[in-house]
Amino acid sequence: MALHLKLAGSTHAIEIVRRKPTLLLRVDGRLHEIATPDAPDALAIDAAAFSFVRALEAESDRETAFVRHGGRTYEVGFVDPRAEIAAHDATHDEIHAPMPGAVVSVHKQPGETVARGETIVTIESMKLQTALAAQRDGIVQDVLRAAGETFEKDEALVRLAPAAEG
């Protein structure tokens, strides 16, 4: 399965062709040889030197990587294949209960903005607490169950305001 990386806004398919003796990748159909020199956070792509930096995005817990090459900095994002699969099923406007249970606490109220990965409600079922997080950035439209209320599996618990197209 090809990995997908986002670089400067466009998505690229990356396939691992071989690992030894050097890493060989097929990026959008073209082969590239990757070497890791001894220097920290450095790598060589087709013998050209790159350095990369990890940084934290303020406001959210998300990690983003930056690659520097030829005096320019590029932001690189990893496209989570599981999120991609899930994306085929839903538009992420609603968060559904993965199992029947009860709401323990509500962390975000209607009208509040959320970033992808932020917990909106915590539920408990079968002795286990699960934090249900936003699948995308957005604004909470409705929280359909209050703390203490019970629900069935697959019931919608949270609705986000529809995302603007584009």
Binding site: K20, D61, P98, K127, Q129
Partner: protein, 529 residues
């Protein structure tokens, strides 16, 4: 979506580092803290401490994976550290072996009931994995005040000698090095070993020592006459080689092991080992600070397997059970890990994946964090019990070796499906945060309070809130103690607590050891469809 910079991560990390520090401290105490009097006595007899013996026995620079270092930590008022017996896997003259040592620095090496349980388990491991055994003998015999718990039953004292006989029959070699006394039952350990060495002056083997002989027949005798090195190696033939010192006995022992045929391991799929791409230390920030909080087991897998590469099977089906292939120190394994309650679909997926691994000759690794199979009318109507039963059937009948790690909770029948203690995992390790029980403490307390209230109603009594509260607090207190990882390992429900970051290494040693035994017979019982 894990961030190592998040507040949750940092809170978990502080919590788990404290847990592991407490574990290390307990372990260190069990290994090394002994009354000076006992250490002086050993020194005056010219004896090494048991861990020094092990150090000299195993090949220099090779790891020793100690098992159940905190056995009996909550029994006998703490008087039997590590259950007075050290057990582990080490390399002796190039062969993986079980090393089992009595601990003469505790009550003369006397066997407590849990000592016998630990030795029986060590020999079960030897049988299941065809690992040769080196016994380092120095024990006063059974701890008499507790003899009723260590002598008559099936899986205590006598089972040690039964297992020794079976090992010999299987062609799995045993060596005893007799450093101290082997009295009564203990005398059979060297006698039933295929080879043994005895140290002149301090080693002795007899059914009854001098005081017992005098009481029984009036005969006066010395230790040397009754069971010393020279008598046994030149007259009785009970022992094979005399040694002038403990160091010499160990050298002879290493030479004996060097004569043994090397086992032919079965041909597991292997790659060149590779460190995980994600830092194992980050496990501390992933394991939650509360047993009830859910976490993504994929984050754990990423810190255990080679290159953090995980080929996930059915990633979009039965998502509360994560299944997939990976390598650990190069060894191909199939991993099953809990990401929530087991539903019908996750149970079926688990059963199917177990069958795939059996078809592919791939060992199974179970990472447990399970609160049970889903309950409720809808699930019963869909046959959650028979789907769980299919998973248990596939798992129980597996021909490939199984390994279990208790990563957090292990409650209810989920323990069974995920290869709990009763299901013959070759090795079962637990993390210090682990809790185990037929149900959680809160649930048990609520159930018992409900039962008590019903009794009162039936008897026509008024509901007494104080009594109910007492039932609740007593149940919770008992649960807190008995569900803890320390209680579990004290009772030998596992093969030892491990620091989570050691999981990868412990599994690798265990997998490597397991390859000495051929795969089991293929086939299953009747699956209820």
């Amino acid at each position: 979506m894990l961030s190592t910079a998040s507040a949750d991560f940092r809170r978990n990390e502080a919590h788990n580092r404290a847990l592991v520090a407490a574990f290390r401290e307990k372990q260190d105490k069990a290994r090394h803290a002994r009354p000076q009097r006992d250490l002086d006595r050993l020194a005056s007899q010219g004896k090494l401490r048991p861990r020094e013996r092990i150090e000299k026995l195993i090949d220099p620079g090779t790891p020793f994976l100690e098992l159940s270092s905190l056995a009996a930590n909550m029994a006998y008022g703490g008087e039997s550290p590590s259950a007075s017996s050290i057990v582990g896997i080490g390399v002796v003259s190039g062969r993986e072996t079980i090393v089992r040592a009595d601990d003469p620095s505790v009550k003369g090496g006397a066997w407590y009931p849990l000592t016998t349980k630990k030795i029986v388990r060590a020999l079960d491991i030897a049988i299941e994995n065809r690992l040769p055994v080196v016994h380092l003998c120095d024990s006063a015999g059974g701890f008499l005040p507790l003899q009723s718990q260590l002598f008559p039953d099936k899986y205590v004292g006598g089972r040690i000698f039964r297992n020794q006989s079976i090992l010999s029959k299987m062609g799995v070699k045993q060596l005893s090095l007799v450093f101290g006394h082997c009295t009564a039952g203990g005398a059979y350990i060297p006698a039933l070993s295929d080879y043994n060495v005895i140290v002149r002056g301090t080693g002795a083997v007899f059914l009854g020592g001098p005081p017992l002989v005098k009481a029984a027949t009036g005969e006066e005798s010395t230790v040397e006459e009754l069971g010393g090195a020279d008598m046994h190696t030149s007259v009785s033939g009970v022992c094979d080689y005399p040694a002038a010192s403990e160091e010499e006995a160990i050298l002879i022992g290493r030479e004996i092991v060097a004569q043994w045929e090397r086992p032919r391991k079965w041909d597991i799929q292997r790659e060149a080992p590779e460190a995980p791409a994600y830092e194992p230390q980050e496990l501390y920030g992933i394991i939650p600070d509360d047993i009830k909080k859910q976490f993504d087991m994929r984050e754990v897998i990423a810190r255990i397997v080679d290159g953090s590469r995980f080929h996930e099977y059915q990633p979009n089906y039965g998502t509360t059970l994560v299944c997939g292939f990976a390598n650990i120190w190069g060894y191909k394994v199939g991993i099953l890990a809990n990401n929530g309650v087991l539903f019908n679909d996750s149970s079926l997926k688990g059963g199917h994946f177990i069958e795939l691994c059996n078809q592919n000759n791939t060992p199974l690794v179970f990472l447990q964090n399970i609160t049970g199979y889903m309950i409720g009318r809808d699930y019963e109507r869909r046959g959650i019990t028979k789907d769980g039963a299919k998973m248990i059937m596939a798992q129980s009948c597996s021909r490939v070796p199984k390994f279990t790690v208790m990563c957090n909770g292990s409650f209810g029948a989920g323990n069974y499906g995920m290869c709990g203690r009763a299901f013959d995992a070759r090795f079962l390790f637990a993390w210090p945060n682990h809790q185990i029980g037929v149900m959680g403490g809160d649930q048990a307390a609520n159930t018992l309070v409900e039962v008590k209230a019903n009794q009162m109603r039936r008897a026509g009594e008024p509901i007494d809130a104080a009594t109910l509260e007492r039932v609740r607090t007593e149940t919770l207190a008992a649960y807190q103690e008995q569900t803890s990882a320390y209680y579990s390992t004290s009772e030998l429900w596992d093969d030892g607590l491990i620091d989570p970051i050691d999981t990868r290494n412990a599994l690798a040693v265990a997998i490597s050891a397991s390859l000495n035994a051929p795969l089991g017979e293929a086939g299953y019982g009747v699956f209820r469809f």
